[in-house]
């Protein structure tokens, strides 16, 4: 089976996030003075071939921990779902 994975990586609490802070400082000028706690991060999407959803999740988590995130400074969340059939729209 093929599964679609999404990994979100962001700086851990306590690690300065100058990108998020800069975005937050710009918000009042745009009228978003009700927005707080902006954290910048990034998101990765990929597909995994696996026996089942748990297997796909384990592989995606392994990839997140070994490469996509640096656990010294970053946290990651992994989401996995069945991929659309080949040739289908995504």
């Amino acid at each position: 089976m093929r599964y679609a994975a999404r990994v979100e990586v962001r700086l851990r609490p306590g690690i300065a996030d100058p990108e998020g802070a800069t975005i937050e400082r710009a918000l009042p000028a745009l009228g978003f003075d009700d927005v707080r706690e902006v954290r910048a991060g990034r998101s990765f999407r990929f597909e995994v071939d696996a026996e089942d959803e748990d297997g796909a999740r384990r592989r995606a988590e392994e990839l997140a921990h070994r490469l996509l995130a640096n656990p010294v400074i970053e946290d990651s969340d992994v989401e996995v779902r069945e991929a659309a059939p080949a040739g289908g729209s995504r």
């Binding site: 300065a16 100058p18 490469l67 400074i73």
Partner: protein, 226 residues
């Protein structure tokens, strides 16, 4: 025979020739090693120079860590061999787990490119051996992700064991505890953000990098003699 220093080149490394010249200047025989080489026989010390290994994609050093040469670098370090990471090389060493902590984007998202005053705070490393702690040096920095971070326990370990080898006199990037360079528990693996190879002649503004390079060459010569 001169100490032999291998300067590791990744796709995107750009300080390798300056590094070779600077080490030759202090009496070493330096040569380039491509990142796919898995044998490092015959070298007495290794240097990971500055640049943008693998384009700095994902995070600086994140992809370089998986280059074939890095297994050999790790074995060389585990055997006590002197290993120096300069700037991007420091980032590679932290990503590879050969040094603790990480280097994140500078405070205020500012790229810094300027001479920096740094102070030698420990002589317990191959880069600072026999340099009097407290000695101030002027060495250029040139980086966007040079702000050193680590957890509180790691910081306490580094401080207590004299493993913070260089500190900024005026912190240019937001590094915790003004850290500019650290070393491994045995003192044989060192990473620093400043570029000592760019301070190897008064003609270019400073020759203050030479004592550091000489210490590294002396450590390499000791390996050769052993």
């Amino acid at each position: 025979m001169s100490a032999r220093i291998g300067v590791v080149v990744f796709p995107g490394t750009n300080c390798e020739h300056d590094t070779v010249l600077a080490f030759e200047r202090v009496g070493a025989a330096a040569s380039l090693v491509w990142h796919t080489d898995e044998r490092l026989d015959g070298f007495d010390a290794l240097v990971l120079p500055g640049g943008f290994a693998h384009g700095d994609y994902l995070r600086p050093g994140a992809i370089a860590r998986f280059s074939p040469v890095m297994g050999a670098v790790a074995r060389f370090a585990a055997g006590g061999g002197p290993v120096l990471g300069i700037c991007n090389g420091f980032q590679v060493l932290t990503e590879a787990g050969l040094l603790p902590g990480a280097l994140v984007k500078n405070r205020g998202l500012r790229f810094v490119c300027a001479p920096a005053r740094v102070r030698v705070d420990s002589d317990r490393s191959v880069l600072t051996a026999r340099i009097e702690p407290g000695t101030e040096l002027q060495i250029p920095v040139n980086h966007y992700s040079g702000s050193y971070v680590c957890d509180a326990r790691t910081l306490a370990e580094l401080r207590d064991a004299g493993r913070v080898v260089l500190r900024y006199v005026e912190n240019p990037n937001g590094s915790v505890d003004d850290i500019a360079g650290i070393t491994s528990p045995e003192g044989n693996v060192v990473g620093l953000m400043p570029h000592p190879e760019r301070a190897s002649d008064a003609l270019v503004g400073s020759a203050d990098g030479l004592p550091l390079l000489r210490a590294m060459v002396a450590a390499a010569a000791a390996v050769r003699a052993a």
